[in-house]
Amino acid sequence: MNRKEFLSDFGRMGFAGVALSLFPWLESCTEKAQQEVSGERARIGIIGTGSRGLFHIQHLVQMPNVEVVALCDNYRPHLEDAAQYYPEAKQYDDYRRLLDDKSVQGVIITTPLYLHARMTIDALRAGKRVFCEKSMAYTLDEALEVYNCRKELGAVLFIGQQRLFDPKYIKAMQLIHEGLIGDVVGVRNYWYRNNNWRREVPSPELERHINWRLYSEYSRGLMTELACHQLQNGSWAMGMLPEQVMGSGHLVYWTKEDERDVYDTVSAIFTYPNGVNMTFESIISNKHFGMGEQILGTKGTIDLVTAMHYTDEAAPKGSGMDQLIAQIESGIMSNSVFAGTSWAAETATLAPGMPIMPNVKVVSGESSVGAEADGSKELLEAFIHAVITGKQPEKVLEESYYATQFALLADKAMHENAILRLDDKYKVPYEPLRMK
């Protein structure tokens, strides 16, 4: 989906204005904001040109207002991969040299988790505008340090939580805030895959360098690599932060093949002040259920991944035609199950789901690199806009910050086999993103 489609989808539903008041970080997506930077170009350096770095490059090459002027990686083959897209860009094997490069305005950091905080802080202090992949940091303290550093400098910092820019999530959250599914009483997240999560290693001494995700020295495993994306769902839907976290994590299967030490099986429960639980479960030795994110309400359910709404209320008379009316109103085509032998007025049915917006592309969650149409491109566009204008969008960093903190806290709870609360020292101002 390009920007035009993105805006047109919102516009068609009379949604653009509402979306902006609710989700101000989308402001950079408006035509007006784009005109503001028209003719200007953001000069970008990329630190870390492995798979995720290349994924972003696929989007950057499509953006006319971007000039990638510098590339950095300490693994030569990855640097060469990226240089194929930008042969003119300067090449570095030390990120500090890239930060010294005055021609670089903004940096995109796509390196292993344990490097995120240090590189982000160094980049901010070097005066760069920064996009760092999620999770924000490897420890709770580091995440706070990054947050405070940005605040102190008033700098631009984006974290790669792309769901915040995914139109189907934005639409779903608007509907939830409007009360479509009643009171939110549960949030379910899961992410199942059946693969060893490994990258091929050309020679054994590169094992930890390439497969850093599997070792706790560099990564917090499934919680920071996968859960972090989903943990903002509860806060976003309910406008509050979890009060406590418990969890269980184990290495169940994949140690048969290697010496990894991050869990391959995790379950976590996040409990909110109102008693509602949000769960996260990930198993990477079974993929049947794939990736799922569901907001459960007293009147229905919204499946965020498929952008479908399921009502708990009995289908009213003529509900098939009602579905059709709703479809046409929203510019959607879908089937309506209503034909049968004869009309029975009071037959309560398990109503079929309704798409909440047109042209939804469903992401399976199987890829370890990224997926099309998951908000990544919009997020990157918003960052490029901020590199040019120097304006930090509101609220977006706090959502990312807490997603990281709760991913890290859950990982800690698993290791300590304890029920944990986020210490007050880690709490930063959080303004709920709820419609009044």
Binding site: K317, S330, M333, P358
Partner: protein, 289 residues
């Protein structure tokens, strides 16, 4: 039930008029797009008026209806009827012959293989062939009504509409504004809300016959006079709502072995037997394939 009319211009490209009302013992719904509210409302009222008129004409339970007049007198004398009724009786007789007798408006009183009434085209008259005949045109009227609605809308320049007659007969004008067809799901008989089959309507119609949703068997085999106890759904798709309605009823009543022979008389129509299993399974068999 009073006429229910709704108008929505939430999507300005396709403003929707929706009308629903009770007639012929069921609920009739019409959704159309592309007209202003006043036009939509006028059309809705016209459709309802026409349906009430048809209901009266073909209602064998209303002693003042034209059909009741025939039932009362045609065994004893020649009864003159108007053009519309004559056409209806002609069509019904054609359908009886082409469905090997499995569609018969004299079902409850018919003698197997025999014509129940004789028509005189010159005089526009009807006469029953024996005492005790009684015509019930409910099955015919349903499809005929859908054809009438389609005609009314079409004459007024409507190109996009969906008409639903009690969920068992659905007819379309054009296609869904956002697709190449109207996608209508046939509901699974034991797993409510689940789709057993999907039909794509594009200026065409569909009809489903089978056991009622309350579990009753209600279709009578004209050859035996007995209620047909089949648990499958009989779905017919094709150009005319009248023919799909007639065919789904006749095919459901007919023994399986004879269904393909009936279908051979109808070009451009497709009939499918749908067997819904407990737990959600579905088996389908296209008749004549």
């Amino acid at each position: 039930m009073a006429l229910e009319f709704r108008y929505s211009d939430k999507n300005p490209s396709y403003p929707i008029s929706f009308v629903a009302f009770r007639a012929m013992h069921t609920r009739i719904e019409v959704l159309l797009t592309g007209v202003e509210e006043a036009v939509g409302r006028t059309l809705a009222e016209r459709v309802e008026t026409e349906m009430k008129a048809l209901e009266h004409r073909f209602n064998c339970h209303d002693e003042r209806s034209p059909l009741s007049a025939i039932n009362l007198r045609a065994a004893r004398e020649v009864v003159e009827v108007d053009d519309d009724m004559f056409l209806a009786l002609e069509l019904c007789d054609t359908f009886r012959r082409t469905t090997m007798g499995y569609f018969d408006v004299a079902t409850d009183t018919a003698v197997a293989g025999q014509m129940s009434y004789q028509l005189d085209a010159r005089r526009h008259t009807v006469r029953f062939t024996s005492e005790g005949i009684r015509l019930d045109m409910g099955g015919f009227a349903k499809g005929y009504a859908l054809e009438r609605i389609r005609q009314i809308l079409s004459d007024e320049g409507i190109t996009t509409a969906l008409m639903n007659f009690g969920n068992s007969s659905v007819a379309a004008l054009g296609h869904h504004p956002y697709g190449d067809w109207w996608a209508v799901g046939v509901e699974h008989t034991s797993e409510r809300g689940q789709m057993a089959h999907e039909v794509h309507l594009q200026g065409s119609a569909m009809s489903v016959s089978g056991r009622s949703t309350d579990g009753r068997y209600h279709i009578v085999n004209p050859a035996t006079g007995a209620t047909v106890a089949g648990d499958e759904l009989l779905l017919v798709e094709g150009r005319s709502a009248l023919i799909t309605e007639v065919l789904s009823t006749a095919l459901y009543a007919a023994p399986r072995a004879q269904r393909a022979a009936i279908m051979s008389h109808f070009e451009g129509y497709r009939a499918t037997e749908i067997y819904c299993r407990k737990g959600g399974g579905v088996e389908r068999r296209e008749i004549g394939k």
